[in-house]
């Protein structure tokens, strides 16, 4: 009897594994998904606006203010929402990746870090009702089996880097795409401030035909652009590099600046301005003449765009040389400066006010 049950178990296990392999794992729903939110916006996540059906197997469900149900595309959006609303952890539900039914998250087993790609995160977190199912999945796809609290903790810790990753993609790819779609397809006025959540906006665009027909990915790009950029103004023009005319010479070293547009830096006075072929020369000049400056611009190393010199981060002592040798290399964000410093053996990252004349002059030695 025992032998028989073991064989059956073994056969079913083998079957389950081969079955998984045969179809490959997908995060989208293979059955009709259960959508709990009210109204037309129920198809989308209220935090990021992504389609819930497409990321159904990482979907989470919570109650805010003890009655209103909110369904998220992933644990990442749940955590974002937890920071804003009062959510009872015990009431959170999650989709069982195997049966695709909602189960209590607190009793679920999470497989974290498998080879399945995460939703809005670098690390995927898939929930299973049964420990065995989680273990099977773990054997097949790698990762680690943990409980809900640990999974939540991992997600919280990686939140800032996940946000950075998604933001990167949004600003480099999604927003420009959304802008193009908006300009081409949307003729009607859209009052973005009338919506509380991005999924309401999405539902209205789709149902009220505010724009002509769109695919889901196009709709997402458009909504993100409207929701996160258009609401607060518009995309900045991307071609705002420092402009140097052909006759401008660096007042410190006397070289023509237009030949080294990558390194251009400028100091503006009320009516005139001076151009420098690198931050080093600009700083040398700045230490001598600090009066009446209206603004200072430097070229961000990575994007080559003009940024405010006083807001920038500078890497000193790297192996990258400017036209005048060792340089202070400017960056828009601290993260970029640190990455650069690691890539190019920089000594330290400085803010504008921390740059000392001694250090600048030492660069020339």
């Amino acid at each position: 009897m025992l032998k028989k049950s073991i064989t059956i178990f073994a056969i079913s296990l083998v079957f389950a594994i081969t079955n998984l392999q045969a179809i490959g794992f997908t995060k989208s729903a293979t059955i009709k998904p259960e959508l709990f939110q009210e109204g037309a916006q129920k198809e989308w996540c209220p935090v990021c606006g992504m389609n819930l059906e497409a990321f159904y197997k990482t979907s989470h469900l919570s109650k805010i203010h003890n009655h209103k149900l909110r369904q998220y595309c992933s644990m990442r959006c749940l955590i974002v929402d937890m920071q804003e609303h009062d959510i009872n952890i015990d009431e959170i539900e999650v989709v069982d990746a195997l049966t695709q039914k909602f189960i209590k998250a607190s009793s679920a087993f999470y497989v974290v870090g498998s080879d399945v790609k995460g939703t809005m995160s670098k690390v995927s977190k898939l929930a299973f009702a049964q420990k065995e199912a989680a273990d099977d999945f773990n054997i097949e796809h790698g990762g680690e089996v943990v409980d809900f609290k640990t999974a939540l903790k991992i997600a919280k810790e990686s939140l800032s880097s996940d946000v950075a990753m998604v933001d990167n993609k949004k600003s480099k790819q999604v927003y420009p795409m959304g802008k193009k779609i908006f300009e081409k397809k949307c003729t009607k006025e859209i009052d973005i401030n009338a919506y509380n959540q991005i999924n309401e906006l999405k539902a209205d665009i789709k149902d009220k035909n505010l724009c002509s027909e769109l695919k889901e990915s196009e709709l997402q790009a458009l909504s993100l652009y409207l929701w996160e950029v258009k609401k607060y103004g518009d995309l900045k023009n991307s071609s705002d590099t420092i402009n140097v005319s052909r006759d401008e010479k660096c007042p410190v070293c006397g070289m023509f600046v237009y030949k080294y547009p990558k390194w251009a830096a400028q100091i503006f006075y009320k009516e005139s301005h001076l151009s420098f072929d690198g931050v080093k020369d600009m700083m040398k000049y700045y230490f001598e003449h600090k009066e009446n400056i209206s603004k200072m611009l430097v070229s961000d190393y990575y994007s080559q765009k003009a940024i405010d010199a006083k807001e920038a981060y500078y890497v000193i002592g790297s192996d990258v040389y400017g036209p005048m040798g060792d340089e202070l290399i400017p960056f828009k964000s601290e993260n970029e400066a640190k990455t650069f410093s690691m890539d190019h053996k920089g000594l330290k990252v400085l803010r504008f006010k921390d740059i000392k004349a001694k250090e600048v002059h030492k660069l020339d030695e």
């Binding site: 993609k169 480099k172 193009k180 779609i181 081409k184 790009a221 190393y301 990575y302 970029e336 990455t339």
Partner: protein
């Protein structure tokens, strides 16, 4: 200061040339032919160099291909998300493209897929993206070479692509695609990514390769190595790699040109040597008589200078004009074939007109002053001798 040019001397020089009709004619023909050959070579190399340069410049900074068992494979589109997180990357686009073999004509078309709202990785594609009708489902822009081939095969308004499963995909021709360079656009067909995926049977989640744009050129190498670390199963090709491989092909081909160049230059200098090694006794006698009737040495040299200048400058001008016509009007038949080793379709590209003053100057200084020197020096040698000594 009185005018330095003596009309009578020029007249005498022309007459002297006409007196020795056959000799002058022969020298002019040989010089013209040499200059023609040299300048044609230079014009062709310049044009092709320009064409390659602009092709290379329009290339993306980094191309990422997946390689499996040493062969190119379709790459996962999701890799874009990771690549975009690398600092310094300004954009990454998944390309869907491939070669379609058109059996009836025995040629390959390059089919390129574009997305309406994506950032286009090439300037020429921006215009197409604006004009191409993405909604109708099947419309394409084709290069001039493709148009010719299709028209020859009676495809005027549409073309039937044969999909891998044997069924047909009909796509309407909605216009002609003009790239930045002839080399780039001649065999190209542009259509929506969905259509390309259908024709080549590429999955939604896959792409042919990923192109990465980098704002700061200095960072290309760092970013390329980071991508390689992220995806060890890829081949990461930077713009410099591509430049080198293009340059290699070009250098190999220009070896043949160099051989031609050396041969023609050698011929030229033999003629010069022949001239410079001495004057015929008749010419010597002429100089002697001129001196005897009262010409000064500098008059004789001036006359010889005019003679040499007229012949060499005339040959230079006609050689250059002939070469320009040969290369840019007739597209350098015969010579061009040295460079074009592509499929049948590719060879029809036209050489772009590049006017390079340096090349013209180089040829000028290789021919005119050297020839003039070769006429003046021996004359000067005879002219400095006593008249009676020369005549005797």
């Amino acid at each position: 200061m009185r005018s330095k040019i003596n009309i009578y001397l020029i007249e005498y020089a022309i007459n002297s040339l006409l007196r020795q009709k056959y000799k002058s004619f022969f020298i002019t023909v040989v010089l013209t032919a040499l200059i023609f050959l040299l300048s044609s070579l230079f014009f062709i190399t310049n044009s092709i160099k320009y064409e390659l340069q602009s092709t290379v410049n329009s290339l993306p900074e980094i191309v990422v291909q997946k390689v499996k068992a040493g062969r190119h494979y379709d790459i996962d589109v999701n890799a874009i998300d990771d690549i975009l997180t690398i600092t310094g990357v300004s954009s990454a686009v998944a390309r869907v493209w491939g070669y379609y073999y058109f059996e009836n004509a025995g040629v390959n078309f390059s089919i390129v897929g574009i997305d309406e709202y994506e950032q286009q990785y090439k300037n020429s594609l921006i215009h197409v993206a604006k004009k191409l009708d993405f909604n109708s489902g099947s419309s394409m822009f084709i290069g001039t070479g493709v148009k010719k081939v299709m028209n020859k095969n009676y495809y005027q308004e549409y073309f039937n692509f044969i999909k891998p499963d044997g069924t047909l995909k009909k796509v309407d021709i909605s216009g002609v695609f003009n790239g930045d360079t002839e080399l780039e656009s001649n065999d190209v067909i542009v259509m929506s990514k969905e259509n390309v995926r259908e024709i080549f049977d590429i999955e939604e989640e896959k792409a042919t390769d990923i192109v990465v744009k980098v704002a700061n050129e200095n960072e290309i190498a760092t970013i390329a190595s980071k991508i390689k670390l992220m995806y060890p199963d890829t081949r990461v090709i930077t713009k410099d790699d591509l430049k080198i491989s293009y340059q290699n092909i070009f250098d190999y081909k220009s070896g043949i040109f160099l051989a031609l160049f050396v041969v023609s230059l050698f011929t030229f200098f033999i003629i010069i040597y022949d001239k410079a090694s001495g004057l015929s006794s008749e010419e010597k006698k002429e100089i002697g008589i001129l001196k005897a009737i009262g010409w000064r040495v500098d008059d004789v040299l001036k006359e010889k200078f005019y003679e040499g200048f007229i012949i060499s400058f005339f040959s230079y001008m006609s050689g250059i004009v002939l070469a320009l016509a040969f290369v840019y009007i007739f597209n350098a038949p015969l010579l061009q074939n040295i460079f074009t080793g592509y499929s049948q379709l590719k060879t029809s590209f036209e050489l772009p007109f590049v006017f390079d003053i340096q090349t013209l100057a180089l040829i000028f200084f290789l021919s005119v002053p050297i020839y003039i020197a070769a006429t003046i020096i021996p004359s000067w040698r005879s002219a400095t001798l006593e008249a009676d000594e020369v005549i005797r």
